[in-house]
Symmetry: C2
Subunit: 337 residues, 2 copies
């Protein structure tokens, strides 16, 4: 209940902040640049609407954290919008890098406008995010603004480090399980960590509380990715709005796959022989499950979930926003949002 109410309170202000930022970047002088950004953010073009905007989980997590840590959520709006812009910039580039034609059930930006415009629009959105977070100075101290900007930029760097490993891993048939964590720590957890880290920073919470929020975000992000990996093999691909039938076909080095490889059983034997064909997927998914890949990933997700919720307890989140934060974590970890 708290989560829905607060989300409804935040959303109009958040969308307005995002729209103002895009307007600033690409107003009347650059109508096509604006059109590309508005398309990707789900506001315009074929298929525009709630399904296409995504759920704005990251900015909501940021605003909830600021409020739960004892400050008005409005103070964190520029940071929340900046994080959502970073998330979307990374999706624009990832879709090119991964050769993914679909994003949230619609053609990816590069499919509609070509690779050169899509790379550049991603860069424009990246710049815009960095400009947007500096607006924190309008309602926060310069020190908070600088710290928040630095935290966001560190997280962007981690994002690219994780993506670098992801691309590098594509051409390797086998990898140890340990190779997984720096990849997902960068490409998924770093930005979710930034949400709670920056949210608590804006609230000027004490260092131990800020640190607890940071660990909450980090473990939440890691658990979220492990659950995503499980769905990528045993979930419903249509429901996820993805272009491929299975992560197995994409050759993705997900946690269940790396576990399966470590077992050196039938799954590993098939995997190292080369790309998986779509018709092999059902049997191979069963094989990997039988060899323990699903259970292992589930137990890792449970472990990370416990760490996330323990850190959230340590952070002592307050009031309605505190309740909503627990609710959001619960939903994310059951993949209901």
């Amino acid at each position: 209940m708290s989560l829905e109410t607060l989300t409804q309170t935040y959303r109009p202000a958040l969308e307005e902040t995002l729209r103002n930022a895009v307007q600033r970047a690409a107003g009347a002088d650059f109508p096509e640049l604006q059109a590309m950004m508005a398309y990707h953010l789900g506001w315009e073009g074929e298929g525009a609407g709630p399904e296409a905007t995504g759920k704005r989980i990251r900015p909501i997590l940021t605003l909830l954290t600021t409020q739960a840590a004892g400050k008005k959520w409005e103070h964190a709006l520029p940071a929340a919008a900046a994080i959502e812009l970073i998330h979307n910039f990374s999706l624009i580039h990832d879709d090119i890098e991964d050769n993914s034609a679909l994003r949230r059930g619609r053609p990816a930006l590069w499919k509609k406008w070509g690779i050169p415009q899509a790379i550049n629009t991603g860069d424009a959105m990246f710049s815009l995010a960095h400009l947007t977070i500096l607006s924190l100075a309008e309602s926060n101290s310069m020190e908070v603004t600088l710290q928040a900007a630095a935290a966001l930029q560190r997280s962007c760097l981690n994002l690219t480090q994780g993506q670098h490993l992801d691309i590098t891993y594509e051409t390797e048939r086998s990898l140890p399980i340990e190779a997984y964590w720096p990849m997902v720590g960068g490409k998924t957890a770093s930005l979710i960590q930034a949400c709670t880290e920056i949210g608590a920073l804006v609230a000027q919470a004490d260092a131990p509380i800020r640190n607890a929020y940071l660990r909450f975000g980090r473990n939440l992000g890691l658990a979220f990715q492990v659950l995503d990996d499980i769905l990528g093999i045993w979930g419903d691909s249509e429901k996820l709005g993805k272009s491929s039938v299975s992560d197995l076909v994409d050759g993705k080095k997900s946690l269940p796959v790396l576990y399966g490889l470590s077992q050196k059983g039938e799954f590993a034997a098939r995997w190292v022989r080369g790309p998986i064909r779509p018709e092999e997927v059902p049997a191979l998914a069963v094989q990997l499950e039988n060899e323990g890949g699903r259970d292992f990933a589930q137990s890792e997700a449970a472990r990370l979930t416990d760490s996330a919720l323990a850190a959230l307890d340590e952070a002592q989140p307050q009031g309605e926003a505190g309740k909503a934060l627990r609710e959001l974590a619960g939903k994310l970890l059951q993949r209901e949002v």
Copy 2:
């Protein structure tokens, strides 16, 4: 003389700041990411050396401005390094967007490592630049740091706006001359403007002086691009280290070309019929020169050069660095560096 002496003073500290930044982004944990950055920056790999690093004109311009405006150049080092990283990030992405195989006479990053890694390494360098400029806070006030970060980020946004127009113009056979200025104002002048704007900001010069430095940088950048356009048609392509024989073959909407189109003569008639073949270039370059394209561009370059030098006079640059700044402008405007 002043320019050479000061450049030799700045260069070791500048390279060290750049190397520390790259080390920070991609140290022992990400050796290949570091190798890609070091290759692009001219430090490593086949053909590494002074020719491959580029001339570091932008950071030197930044450091000279800070010193000429009355503060120790060391204060501006993080800003100078950040600007050079932004310049290099944009080259990495531009080469993909323009399908250019060569950069400073060596294979472009994407040719060696593929498009996905090159996009992502550009993003990593972009993040790194934004992190690096925040280090200004170590020897400058928080206010100066925030203002400098905002100026850099505005310039990055302008850079992407200019690049957006450049890509958009590729598919249009004809354009009015006025379409030229927002494109080059963004893709070339914005970052050169940022050098002098931020250099003067770090020196905490008074507003009129800062504004004069800003206009100096902007007009210098515009003049530089117009001269580049002239060389792109009537210059020696080998000397420029470019892959194509002429901007005419690339269909680039340079200033001489847009002037030629506005004349609606023989040059325009040939241009609108479709792509130029390499063997047509010598005759067509003569045709465009006969129709006044070269003279027009030369007169625009002279006008912008005068504006740049007048603004530099207004800025009252001091001491050795002031002399060096005039020297650098003169050399840039004669394309001797």
